[in-house]
Symmetry: C2
Amino acid sequence: MTPDLTRNQSLVMKTLSGAEAPLSAYTILDRLRDDGLRAPLQVYRALDKLLDMGLVHRLESLNAFVACAHPHTHEQELIAFAICENCGKVEEFSDEVVKERLDGWAKSHRFRAAKTTIEIRGDCGGCEAKG
Amino acid sequence: MTPDLTRNQSLVMKTLSGAEAPLSAYTILDRLRDDGLRAPLQVYRALDKLLDMGLVHRLESLNAFVACAHPHTHEQELIAFAICENCGKVEEFSDEVVKERLDGWAKSHRFRAAKTTIEIRGDCGGCEAKG
DNA sequence: AAGGATATGTAATGTCATAACATATTGGCC
DNA sequence: GGCCAATATGTTATGACATTACATATCCTT
Ligand SMILES: [Zn+2]
Ligand SMILES: [Zn+2]
Ligand SMILES: [Zn+2]
Ligand SMILES: [Zn+2]
């Protein structure tokens, strides 16, 4: 069972869910000033918990955060992100073959993987279409 | 033909080549104080060029840089990094199947990939062996 | 009600990266 | 050699991202 969210966690989650693109912690903070948030730590602490719960992902190449597009569906699987550098939209996907290949490399090199990041930067179909 | 490196580029390259683990720009700067470097920008500018030349890679999940382990050998291929969170060592590898799968996803979603990041964080064989 | 665990508030600081502007060096061309 | 443009360098200030440290409040179990 997913635990209930605290006030700050709810505020941060709502902000990310309503966003079209990834947001930095400081942008989230700015959008929550009217709700009483004042300091970066209030956001970072909420983000930490939301990351633990799998409701939010961190995009390493952007230093920003997105709401998970498929909560509860990727328990153990590998997640990849396609990030449009033009409109900012992010697509989440997973590929079993990619996971198998990376697991295979790790196993053959005695590497114990804790977390894997896959991020593709480029231009999405919507943006390409518009030229 | 690879262009010759300038003074600052050489200094930064030498520092990275001699390092056991990825270094942040500011750590590189600290190690080059005695050689006359004073400001972050001197390092960042050198890094930009070295990245362009493919002699250095940036690790997004670490905000740090490593010397390329196989210069000139990965022209267009996808590079993955296995990063030990214990000893800091980084292994570079590539996998044609992974590349094909990600290319396939991109093609089917009309996504034009510009740069792909794959970083596996965990513990390397050497560290596992020691417990 | 007591006490521990969890959540929150706040200030200060640390870490990573770039903008803006001045000066110096390099290298082709006449 | 002298000129000019391109490239590289030096320096200061500032912006952007993240954490440490400490105080207070709230929740939950006993
Ligand atoms: Zn997700
Ligand atoms: Zn787009
Ligand atoms: Zn390389
Ligand atoms: Zn190790």
